[in-house]
């Protein structure tokens, strides 16, 4: 695996093959030209499906057997229930029980609740994971526990990979808060309500077999049909598919940390001073505590200036819904609903609509929404002096987070990362990031509590804030300040083995993660 390596456009050494498949090294933003046609799943016929529309099977095991579960298949699940998902673990327990081996798990994201899958990796049921590995799974993979290499993709990159046929899903299991026996499904009601089901759209369209699992079966028709039953093979009713308080919790409260509030305030001040908050503007809304605080500060600025945002894209929650209902934001284009207020608003308010990685993020489409957003506020574990960003590994080399929509949102017109200069003793601004997840040419501004660095490419922003009392510094000055406080970190040593590939939004490989020593 490590014998043949090529340097990609951001200077990282990439093996020629990963998981025995050839790799296209990242050639630069917008340089890779896809060819050929989209992937097509087998043609189905109504002759094989019940004419009364009732596709129910007694349980998940029966459905997996009916779907032809066997060794080496690619099985997909989704993270709409976040850390409250009860379905994915059961799928692999059943597979283990049936003695199936070498599966590829293709989740839209994994969470700490999926730690039991470590056992399935150990006993051979699962060969490797293609999807984010948050927490325990990432730790296990980082230490070399997984047989194959993980493949991490952005939300948009996941849609692209399925559409282009890079990943061919054998069986998709879609956990749906509400569904009818035909397979129409949505996330708006039911005990496990999560808002939308956009992450499962690609799977429903392209997987060979699709199983809808629900704990809230309604008679046909289930409206609205966020997932269309015409794509669905089987429907399974279960007692419970998710833990509600874990579905809608997480980082959906405004931070109380005075330091983070300070960074949030400074970010909003920057946007104001740079003239980015103007009538009809748009912004990417994040779910982290700092991002939520920035949303609130945007609200204050909009009220003061008497302007409104045309739309906010991204995760919705009570605070964003507040801005919508106050009229400060005209539309929410929701990619992921983070609390019950968000779910309620999406159910009731026609100006609050669900989106999918296809509409918002797919790079191999005829445009997407991400590049139309004026201000994208994102996070990072590390940034380097060339503005390259990392969101997947920590500075000690451990792979602990997924990419989410981060790479996709980098295409926003002004990308701002509000981050602390150091966390505990770990400097966040480095000479080189441990893993390049986003190229510096797409990252415009770094806001820290000790100063703001603007990418020298953005002369327009540098000019716009000239003469303001904002603490503008160079990225090198910030890096040196962090090292003055924390000390210069020693180089971290890695093994040779590649434990994960980081895909760019077009399916090329921008970096790899190696095993920790």
């Amino acid at each position: 695996m490590t014998t043949n390596q090529v340097e990609n456009a951001v200077g990282r050494m990439i093996p020629a093959e990963i998981n025995d498949k050839p790799v296209v090294p990242f050639p630069g933003v917008g340089k890779h030209r896809p060819t050929g046609r989209k992937y097509g799943p087998p043609i189905a016929t109504c002759a094989d499906y019940p004419a009364d529309g009732d596709k129910r099977l007694p349980d998940l095991k029966a459905a997996l057997i009916a779907a032809g579960l066997r060794d080496g298949m690619t099985i997909s699940t989704h993270h709409h229930f976040r850390n409250g998902d009860l379905v994915a673990n059961q799928v692999f327990e059943i597979a283990a029980e049936l003695g199936v081996k070498d599966l590829v798990w293709f989740p839209s994201a994994s969470f700490p609740c999926h730690a039991p899958i470590i056992e399935r990796l150990k006993d051979g049921t699962v060969h490797h994971i293609e999807g984010s590995m948050n927490g325990p799974l990432g730790r296990f993979a980082s230490e070399g526990g997984m047989r194959g290499a993980g493949v991490l993709r952005s939300h948009g990159g996941r849609y692209q990979a399925v559409q282009d046929g890079e990943v061919q899903i054998d069986i998709a299991i879609i956990a749906a808060p509400t569904a009818d026996p035909f397979g129409n499904a949505n996330g708006l009601t039911g005990p496990s309500a999560c808002g939308l089901l956009g992450f499962a759209l690609a799977d429903s369209q392209y997987a060979h077999k699709v199983i809808v699992v629900t704990d809230n079966l309604v008679p046909f028709p289930c409206l609205p049909w966020q997932i269309q039953g015409n794509y669905v093979d089987y429907v399974v009713e279960m007692d419970v598919i998710g833990i509600p308080e874990k579905i809608v919790s997480g980082t959906t409260r405004v931070t109380k940390s005075p330091d983070r509030l300070y960074i949030a305030d400074l970010t909003a001040q920057f946007c104001d001073a740079a003239g980015l908050i103007r009538d009809g503007f748009s912004f990417q809304a994040g779910a982290g505590g700092t991002a939520l605080a920035i949303g609130n500060y945007f609200g204050d600025i909009m009220r003061r200036k008497g302007v409104t945002a045309r739309f906010a894209r991204g995760g919705s929650n009570q605070y964003l819904v507040g801005l919508l209902e106050e009229g400060l934001v005209e539309y929410i284009l929701d990619g992921q609903t983070f609390d019950l207020e968000g779910v309620r608003s999406m159910r009731e308010n026609p100006r609050h609509t669900d989106t999918s990685p296809f509409t918002s993020y797919n790079y191999h489409g005829k445009g997407n929404f991400a590049s139309m957003v004026d201000i994208a506020i994102l996070g990072a574990t590390e940034v380097d002096v060339n503005f390259n960003g990392n969101v997947v590994t920590h500075s000690d080399g451990y792979l602990l987070h997924g990419i989410g929509g981060w790479q996709n949102a980098l295409f926003g017109k002004t990308v701002i990362l509000p981050i602390p200069l150091f966390r505990d003793r770990i400097p966040v601004i480095r000479d080189e990031v441990t893993t390049i997840v986003g190229p510096g040419e797409l990252i415009d501004v770094i806001v820290t509590e000790r100063g703001i660095a603007i990418n020298p490419r953005r002369t327009d922003l540098l000019d716009a804030v000239k003469g303001s009392d904002l603490p503008i510094k160079t990225i090198h000055e910030l890096k040196e300040e962090a090292e003055r406080i924390c000390g210069k970190p020693q180089a971290v040593e890695f093994g040779d083995r590649v434990i994960a590939a980081i895909k760019w939004v077009d399916g090329t490989v921008i970096d790899v993660v190696r095993q920790v020593k």
Binding site: P258, D259, L261, Y262, S395, D396, G397, R423, D424, R425, I426, E449, R450, I485, C486, G487, P489, Q490, V492
Partner: protein, 409 residues
Amino acid sequence: MTDEPIVNHIGVAGNKGPGIRSDCFVTIQLIEGGGFDIDLNSKVKALYADSIITLARDMLASFGLANVRLSIEDSGALPFVLAARIEAAIKQVIETDQEYWPDLIPENRYHTAKDRYRRSRLYLPGNTPKLMLNAGIHKPDGVILDLEDSVAPAKKDEARLLVRNALRQVDFYGAERMVRINQLPRGLDDLAYVVPHNVNLVLIPKVEKAEQVTQVDDRVQEIGRAQGLDHPVWLMPIIESALGVINAYAIASASPRVVALAIGLEDYTADIGAPRTAAGRESFFARSQLVNAARAAGIQPIDSVFSDVSDMEALRRVVGESKALGFDGMGCIHPRQIAVIHDAFAPSDQEIAKAKRIVLAFDEATAKGLGVVSLGSKMIDPPVVKRAQRVVDLAVKARKLEPDWRSEG
């Protein structure tokens, strides 16, 4: 082995456990032979193991220790914290007057003016490193590294070393660097750990008599002479009892180094036997007395703290009253209170307009070489001019006035 007498076999310092960050827990044990046996368990090991081990070895050697088992459980402590913890642990196993001083960073070499603004002073518990690191970014007028009430009795010794190292190494971005020492007599011993490290101001708690101020002042002078210090260390006595209130003027005028007089209402109300209320009628006399004593002595009266950190509206009300009584500043126990306090102590639009007219009249008189400033038909006394200049400065600081306001006419 060391020549120093062994006083203990095991020394421990610092903190660990859930919620502890940017700190470390150090255990030290003198052993028979074997050199240094250092066990490091750190969340930043991959990046800083070498640097931590080098620091530990250097410190052990500089205290003349040769055979030691040292264990460090590190939650991301910065070097000044590691050094303070290791030193505190060493001092439990050997008797020594030696100290291990990290460098005094150039950013911390500034002095402060006697009449500088003291609108806000942020209390930082003296044994909690994580709260110190970013205190300066919130731009309080002063930070107080507290050795008194916020430090548990068993942690007093290690807090002194941490506060000393913080004075040398933490950049507070121009805030006046203050230390609240312990109640006397213990507080007198604290001074040796703060005065040599360019502390700008010492707060003296629970002052009841002028002699207590003199005692501190004398000890500060003595240490200053021994260290060759050429700048004054300002003093801020805190009055927290009925006796202190009665003696307020004598306390305020006990030394030319006293620059402000503060009041601590929690202890004061307990002392007079009245519950502390939101309306604050029980402390009206004391606060007013304090303002008068401070003004009579030509120094700044500073109000107590407001303890409900979540209620910004109530804080705003309290600061408004405080300003109306004549106070110049207030204590803060949370960074979020700073902006509210600065805003409330900022002059009103009418005050600013009047001050601008007086300052412009003064400029004009100075330009014409006139000794007397007049506005319309009224003569303006020098203290009025000075006060107007302060109002203008304060307005600029509170962003209610552009720094180049003169050019705007």
